[in-house]
């Protein structure tokens, strides 16, 4: 049985398949993305390349020499070395990180605002001890502003009651608070010496969450012209929790990566991180083909660097706490080779 190939599913499990089945998965993955996002399918040469990557039984793979990209290492460190500065040094020295990110386990700008002095001191001391650039990251996390965690009426409770206008007003009110908190933390971190700010999983609470982030980025860019600003998305398209919100004349709900990146660049972002969800019941090859199709147009049309989110369960990487390196290396190579993105 020469045709038998070992491959991974989206949940990380190892299965046996055939070249014909993998090709069918790759073809179907790109077509699913075309149907969803109305983007062009991958070309035959790109589908052939994916087939080659996934039909190899090699334990590991990588891009060609000269095709390497920047890795932004959102959420650097693993909280097992004793201090966050030690974690950063380990990632700089032991893992070859191109960029680092200081972060707190309560990964939300609303939470960070209350401990900014503590976090800013950690930033300052880390900057003195590091050579590679380091940003500060957290989530915009609009949901934290609604009851019972925050002061604003909970729009997810109002909507099922048909109180749509109240739900929409609540999201806007929460958004103003979130924008204020993001700007407050950004000012403190810039003063402490950060190289940049990361707004991670933007849009997690829908279009109101994304708008609050864009508004914050616009203000930060005006105030700090050369600080790095990365916006990483929560999912592949923006949920319309409000439904009518616009940024610079463009409706946010339903935006796909090639549309999201334009809003991010217009606000003043310097790095955009698209996120594509993983279907655990499909093969990694299927998921990667779909992810490549969804972000290729974004990479072609972007004016700023695109760093795809490739953590567990995102961008084709299997949804498992300990991703197998055979799968991760294939995802890494496939995304870079097919989309020519700027980083991961």
């Amino acid at each position: 049985m020469d045709d038998r190939i070992l491959t991974r599913m989206g949940d990380g499990s190892l299965v046996e398949t055939t070249r014909a089945q993998l090709r069918a998965d790759i073809e179907d993955g790109t077509q699913q993305a075309v149907r969803r996002a109305k983007v062009p399918p991958l070309e035959q040469g790109e589908l052939d390349h994916l087939e080659d990557i996934f039909c190899s039984n090699a334990r590991f793979t990588g891009v060609d020499l000269g095709d390497e990209v920047i890795l932004s290492y959102d959420g650097s460190g693993n909280a097992d070395l004793g201090s966050r500065m030690t974690e950063m040094l380990a990632y700089q020295t032991h893992q070859g990180a191109d960029m680092l990110e200081l972060w707190h386990i309560d990964y939300s700008y609303k939470a960070i605002k209350t401990i900014l002095s503590f976090e800013a001191h950690e930033m300052k001391m880390s900057q003195l001890n590091l050579t590679v650039p380091m940003q500060y990251g957290a989530m915009p996390d609009l949901g934290r502003y609604s009851k019972p965690d925050g002061p604003i009426p909970n729009w997810s409770e109002l909507m099922p009651l048909g109180r749509i206008e109240e739900a929409r007003a609540a999201q806007l009110e929460a958004g103003e608070m979130a924008t204020h908190d993001m700007l407050f933390v950004a000012d403190g971190m810039v003063e402490a010496g950060t190289d940049g700010l990361d707004f991670d999983t933007a849009g997690a609470a829908g279009d109101g969450d994304f708008l609050a982030t864009l508004n914050a980025v616009e203000k930060i860019r005006a105030k700090h012209p050369h600080v790095g600003i990365e916006i990483g998305m929560a999912s592949e398209f923006v949920l319309g929790m409000h439904g009518e919100l616009e940024y610079r004349g463009e409706r946010l709900a339903g935006m796909w990566p090639h549309q999201q990146v334009k809003a991010v660049a217009a606000a003043g972002g310097t790095i955009f991180g698209p996120a594509v969800n993983v279907n655990t019941r499909k093969s990694v090859a299927w998921n990667v083909s779909r992810a490549c199709t969804l972000v290729k147009r974004c990479c072609e049309e972007s004016t700023i660097p695109v760093h795809m989110n490739v953590g567990m369960g995102v961008g084709g990487v299997p949804m498992t706490a300990y991703p197998p390196v055979d799968a991760v290396s294939r995802v890494s190579k496939a995304l870079v080779d097919v989309t020519r993105m700027d980083g991961l």
């Binding site: 990588g62 890795l71 001890n129 590679v132 660097p305 990487v317 991703p323």
Partner: protein, 127 residues
């Protein structure tokens, strides 16, 4: 980041520029603070260092280039380079070589009374 072997190391070895083992940190600075896309950032850094873009990912070449320009090198057990620039010291050199202000360097200089903020031909002051 999650599992360091399955996530960060796997991506580093498959597609990363290697950070300060090579010139990944320098290219990253141009993406972060100038919004340069990858090819533009690589060409800018290669031009400032006087090397090819392929050299930027070659740790053998970059080990010597970083030593010559004082850009900081990774310390290993036998090679600590205690008499050479590292961390904030190296970032002063990186700021000069890349001709960009670096926020932590500007803050350090101002607070230590080391003079006026750097004004870059590539555009403005830090932060």
């Amino acid at each position: 980041m999650g599992d360091p072997v399955g996530m960060s190391l796997a991506h580093t070895l498959a597609s990363g520029m290697g950070g300060m083992r090579a010139a990944g940190d320098l290219v990253a600075r141009m993406q972060m603070t100038r919004g340069m896309r990858l090819s533009e950032a690589k060409e800018y850094v290669a031009g400032r260092l006087g090397v090819s873009t392929l050299d930027l990912v070659d740790p053998v070449v970059m080990h010597d280039v970083r030593a010559e320009l004082g850009l900081g090198r990774i310390t290993v057990q036998e090679l600590t380079y205690a008499d050479q620039p590292y961390a904030i010291e190296a970032k002063f050199r990186i700021s000069e070589v890349l001709d960009i202000p670096i926020n932590s360097v500007e803050r350090f200089a101002a607070r230590a009374g080391l003079g006026a903020p750097r004004v870059s031909a590539a555009g403005g002051a830090a932060g």
